[in-house]
């Protein structure tokens, strides 16, 4: 599976590159203009984000351009790192050790292998059916019944969010869309671009106009202004990029709206989990290390929905 390097792909890459250059330039100007302690901190934070975006876009572009295997490996590594963060934050007991070993070293690679060989019938049920039954079976064999239901539910949820959901991003490459053969790398790029742009735009709109908090108990930084502005502008951008997808402009707008809403829901849900765990002991541990789950929370929720909507409406 070799990604085609066609004109639209070049355009997509140029859009990303252009956005990064413009953001870096704005960051540089703001850094020189802005005065005051708190404003400077905001600009420094913005610039740090832009810098990490350069790195992430570079890695991502490289993975997509090397075709199927590159994306598969990249998202496999992302899943592994995310699961690692998730389980670290989750209090498990010694009785879970073997189950966890299976989750990391058998279930996760197997899921990506199945995506790699495009076995839709199995990769779409491996975790929600087989792993969900396997996890309690393997755990019960260890004989520790303390908080049993809680423990298995946490491992199942970790696998679901970090592995199953994320694996639907490279799974986009397996879809056979009439008239769009060998161009799926663009669809993958488009999906990640719209979801991540929505995150960034929600942050920017929120910083700019944010007044009314949307869920103060869960995520104090999320505001109605950020939500509406971010989702709205990302949907418009998604619609404007329709030429890179198998969708027409209206369909692209609809798809973008759904995935940005799912992305928002994902960010909110993962914040709630962090908040819940944050009061526990492992809160400090993730510091300086964390980040993978923070970056991909919106992708987790949007990917399976985008995959299935595209599969249902646009494949034979």
């Amino acid at each position: 599976m070799i990604a085609s390097f066609d004109r639209e792909m070049v355009w997509l890459l140029s859009v990303v590159l252009g956005t990064l250059i413009v953001s870096s330039a704005i960051g540089l100007v703001l850094k020189q203009r802005v005065a005051g302690e708190s404003a400077r901190a905001v600009v420094e934070n913005l610039n740090a984000r832009v810098r990490s975006w350069w790195v992430m876009c570079g890695v991502f572009a490289l993975a997509v351009l090397t075709g199927g295997i590159g994306s598969l490996v990249l998202f496999g590594v992302i899943s592994f790192a995310a699961l690692r963060e998730f389980i670290t934050l989750t209090p498990t007991r010694p009785g879970d050790h073997r189950t966890l070993f299976w989750s990391f070293f058998v279930i996760t690679p197997l899921q990506y292998y199945l995506v790699g060989i495009a076995w839709y019938g199995l990769f779409s049920i491996l975790i929600p059916v087989y792993a969900f039954l396997f996890v309690p079976i393997r755990t019960v064999l260890a004989g520790d019944t303390e908080s049993f239901l809680e423990r298995i539910a946490k491992i199942q949820w970790g696998l679901m969010v970090c592995v199953y959901c994320v694996s639907h991003v490279p799974a986009l490459l397996t879809l056979k869309i009439p008239g769009y053969e060998n161009q799926n790398a663009k669809l993958l790029f488009y999906f990640v671009l719209v979801v991540q742009l929505s995150d960034v735009l929600q942050y920017v709109w929120g910083k700019w106009l944010g007044r009314h908090k949307i869920a103060p108990n869960v995520s104090p930084n999320k505001t109605w202004e950020g939500f509406l502005g971010g989702v709205g502008s990302a949907t418009l951008i998604g619609a404007a990029l329709w030429w890179a997808t198998p969708f027409n402009p209206w369909q692209a707008a609809g798809m973008s709206l759904v995935i940005t809403l799912m992305g928002f829901a994902g960010g909110l849900t993962m914040s709630a989990i962090k908040r819940d765990r944050g009061v526990k002991d492992y809160g400090t541990l993730i510091e300086g290390h964390g980040g993978m789950l923070d970056r991909i929370d919106s992708i987790c929720f949007a990917a399976p929905i985008f995959f299935h909507m595209t599969r249902y409406f646009f494949t034979d």
Binding site: R84, E85, P94, R98, F104, L285, E287, G288, H289
Partner: protein, 199 residues
């Protein structure tokens, strides 16, 4: 070469976040002491040290474990340059003597004063060896080290590690104070490790 690879691999497996709190890394002679929950413990402390300090730092480990099998023997003697001691004190072989001999005036050591691996939920009371070493080597710098989550990565009785994230925290150096009693010193040392949990 093997040592550098091993240090890198163990850092990768344990996803270790290394922090130095009011303590600077140095290759001066020191005694590092830590809570003990996993076989990975000393490897991780050792790999968290800068290479210059690593080559002069010797872990203190149980002879009956590290002399079983050729691989372990090779690692203990060639890579880690471990100081192997018998956990049971016998009249003709005092572990404190062995440790002090092994340190000379150049080597640092890594010691787990609990003597055996705990569950990770709390730190057991310290064995008196730490006190006797300090009493005989005056002015020795002691560095408390707190290891978090290693008991979950490789718990007692398991042989396959699960790659969770862990942390190694080096705390402010301390020493035996003049006139300090054995019990008070051991308790102070234990508290120094325990308090790094929240540092």
């Amino acid at each position: 070469m093997i040592a550098a690879l091993l240090a890198g691999a163990s850092r990768l497996i344990s996803g270790a976040n290394v922090r130095w709190v009011d303590c600077q890394p140095t290759s001066r002679q020191r005694l590092y002491f830590a809570n003990h929950t996993s076989h990975l413990d000393f490897v991780l402390i050792w790999s968290a040290l800068p290479p210059a300090a690593r080559v002069v730092t010797r872990p203190v480990a149980a002879r009956e474990y590290w002399e079983r099998g050729r691989m372990r023997k090779y690692f203990a003697s060639r890579i880690f340059n471990a100081v192997l001691i018998d956990r049971k004190v016998s009249p003709h072989d005092n572990p404190v003597d062995r440790i002090i001999d092994a340190m000379g005036d150049r080597h640092s050591v890594i010691l787990f004063p609990e003597g055996t691996r705990g569950s990770g939920a709390e730190i057991d009371s310290f064995k008196s060896g730490l006190y006797h070493i300090c009493a005989r080597k005056t002015g020795l710098e002691l560095v408390p080290v707190y290891l978090e989550n290693l008991n979950r990565i490789l718990p007692k009785g398991e042989f396959l590690p699960v790659p969770l994230l862990s942390s190694v925290t080096f705390g402010p150096p301390m020493g035996l104070q003049p006139g300090e009693s054995k019990a008070a010193f051991l308790e102070r040392a234990r508290a120094a490790v325990w308090n790094l949990r929240r540092a």
